[in-house]
């Protein structure tokens, strides 16, 4: 029986790695999650067969409760809210790892010194990931709007962290006293909250990815404590894959991880407003449609604003009509479009846009010079040339989409406010006043769909902002 259980865990570990491998390519990704799911199901079922397990009824109740809650919430969540949902589920995993450690620490007689310390380390990481992920969730959900930044925040956090480590070392090496264990967990949870609070919304994806990696590591460590190979391998694989993913995301956003964790974003003002070539004018929807219909190549740059307005479906309808007319339509996705890298791809996929029309920044940036119309919808920071020129801007140095190099640029925005990354949309403005004036004039001219001679609005629930920047060539 033991051999069978071990064999199933072995197969599960293989399926997890195999599934992750397939998930890293678009054409095989769907199969990947299915395989990983099979592995998880097998590993869970065979665990019931471990001899000497008690509390089976309690276990079943917990599993059924958890599964139903998670299934319903997972099916219901809107695609735009996906990042915080991932954070939430990830926090659950961290909490579970911490709970395992808590149970194992309380009955310390059964474990060696090494295992005790591994349990403590896993507990620390798991608990921090748990409370930190909950804060990340609350922030992205809009429950916590402001980045909280107390004076001496970093000093307080350092102190908290040291206290947590000291109490952890005491449990691991000296004596797992019940009071100290409780204190240790409380400190770790508070530290998770405190380290996440000052981090701004734009950096949240990187943080969620980091917590994902940490939870993986915590799971791996608890796997050592429980002598469970499937947990060790799956946890460690996720730990390292998540670390790599965190680095990739941080690089895509041009935000070194240390900056994300130890400085709050957008605290520097950077109200850079630049002069741009060309003339800025409100565009009627008809004109915009004609412009696109007779273009050879149109590149659409979607931003989170489009997704909030649920305009991606209409945009895809518009694109289909353009494609039928023989126009080359491409979608340009900036790594940080949406709420995290790849989020916008998910949102476009939801609307039915095939992934071979969607291009990364590196793939498409040269195309802008030969493109007739760049349609920027609900995006701001990712096309803001200030990132190239103004060292004072918070987004300075971030690679941007070169939408400003195309012949015509149509910008649709719902307001004149600053972007998520707290920069003003200096790209297409001369002054803030021009924005506002144009906004009034443009407020009627947002229905770009009619321009393709079809009834039905494109952006009516999205408007009211549609500007066109025509380069004088």
């Amino acid at each position: 029986m033991d051999n069978l259980i071990e064999a199933i865990y072995f197969v599960a570990a293989f399926l997890f790695i195999f599934g992750l491998k397939r998930m890293s390519s678009p054409s095989t990704a769907r199969g990947g999650i299915l395989w990983a799911g099979v592995g998880m199901m097998a590993a869970t079922l065979v665990t019931f067969a471990i001899p000497g397990l008690e509390n089976i009824a309690l276990m079943l109740v917990a599993i059924i409760m958890g599964s139903v809650i998670a299934y319903v919430s997972g099916k219901r969540v809107a695609m735009t809210d996906m990042p915080q949902m991932i954070a939430l589920y990830n926090g659950m995993g961290g909490g579970a790892a911490a709970a395992i450690a808590a149970v194992e620490l309380v009955k310390y007689g059964e474990h060696s010194l090494v295992h005790m310390n591994l349990a403590v380390l896993g507990a620390l990481i798991g608990a921090v990931s748990f409370s930190g992920s909950l804060i990340a969730f609350a922030k992205l959900q809009g429950w916590l709007r402001k980045a909280v930044n107390l004076p001496m925040m970093q000093l307080i956090n350092l102190l908290l962290f040291s206290l947590t480590v000291v109490s952890g070392v005491y449990i691991g090496f000296v004596e797992p006293d019940a009071t100290v264990i409780v204190l240790f967990f409380v400190l770790a949870l508070v530290f998770g909250v405190m380290m996440t609070l000052p981090i701004g919304g734009a950096d949240m994806p990187v943080v969620i990815s980091l917590f994902n990696a940490l939870t993986g590591l915590a799971v791996g460590l608890e796997g050592f404590v429980l002598n469970n190979a499937a947990m060790i391998i799956a946890g460690t694989v996720v730990g390292s894959a998540g670390t790599l993913l965190t680095q990739l995301m941080a690089r895509a956003m041009n935000r070194p991880l240390t900056n994300v964790l130890f400085s709050s974003f957008g605290s520097s003002g950077g109200a850079g407003e630049e002069q741009v070539e060309g003339s800025l004018k409100p565009v009627e929807a008809d004109d915009a449609g004609v412009m696109m219909a007779f273009a050879d190549k149109v590149i659409i740059v979607p931003g989170y604003g489009m997704a909030v307005a649920q305009a991606q479906h209409k945009i895809w309808e518009l694109s289909k009509q353009l494609i039928e007319r023989g126009v080359t339509v491409k979608f340009a996705i900036h790594p940080v479009a949406g709420r995290m890298p790849g989020h916008m791809n998910v949102l476009l996929a939801e609307a039915g846009v095939p992934y071979d029309l969607i291009f990364d920044l590196d793939e498409i940036n040269e195309d802008f010079t030969t493109c007739d119309v760049a349609l920027v919808i609900g995006a701001n920071d990712v096309v803001n040339p200030v990132a190239r020129t103004n060292p004072d801007s918070p987004i300075y140095g971030m690679p941007i989409l070169d939408a400003d190099k195309s012949k015509n640029i149509i910008v649709i925005k719902r307001g004149t406010g600053a972007g998520f990354m707290t920069t003003r949309p200096a790209c297409f403005t001369v002054t803030a006043r021009t924005w506002r004036r144009s906004w009034y004039r443009a407020s009627k001219a947002y229905n770009a769909h009619n321009c393709a001679n079809q009834p039905g609005p494109v952006v009516d629930h999205y408007g009211p902002f549609c500007l066109c920047l025509q380069k004088q060539l």
């Binding site: 998880m40 917990a62 997972g74 429980l226 391998i233 946890g235 460690t236």
Partner: protein, 98 residues
């Protein structure tokens, strides 16, 4: 038993595996892949079940219960959202074929 250097070897190899497996992932899959790896560490459910299965005192049972509850939410939720996202990824060819 997985002890001493065997444990270290497993740790090292698994770490390299995780790094290599996703090293060439395109940006378009970052979000689903993060969600997918989030699902994979849902294996913590197995550990939580073992911990609860060996719990004796009431305190241990309560903590273990919450462990299993949280872990099953991690696993099931992670799977559902990942599957929902990946289901939508289609190329234009697949679209035409239905």
């Amino acid at each position: 038993m997985i002890e001493g250097f065997t444990a270290l070897y497993i740790f090292m190899l698994a770490a390299f595996t995780g790094y290599e497996v996703i090293s060439r992932v395109p940006v378009i899959l970052h979000t689903p892949l993060m969600s997918g790896s989030n699902f994979v560490h849902g294996i913590v459910l197995v550990g939580a079940m073992i911990a609860l299965g060996h719990a004796e005192t009431t305190a241990e049972q309560v903590i273990g219960f919450f462990g299993v509850l949280l872990a099953s939410m991690n696993a099931v939720g992670g799977y559902v959202v990942t599957e929902r996202m990946l289901e939508m990824f289609k190329s234009s060819k697949e679209k035409k074929n239905g």
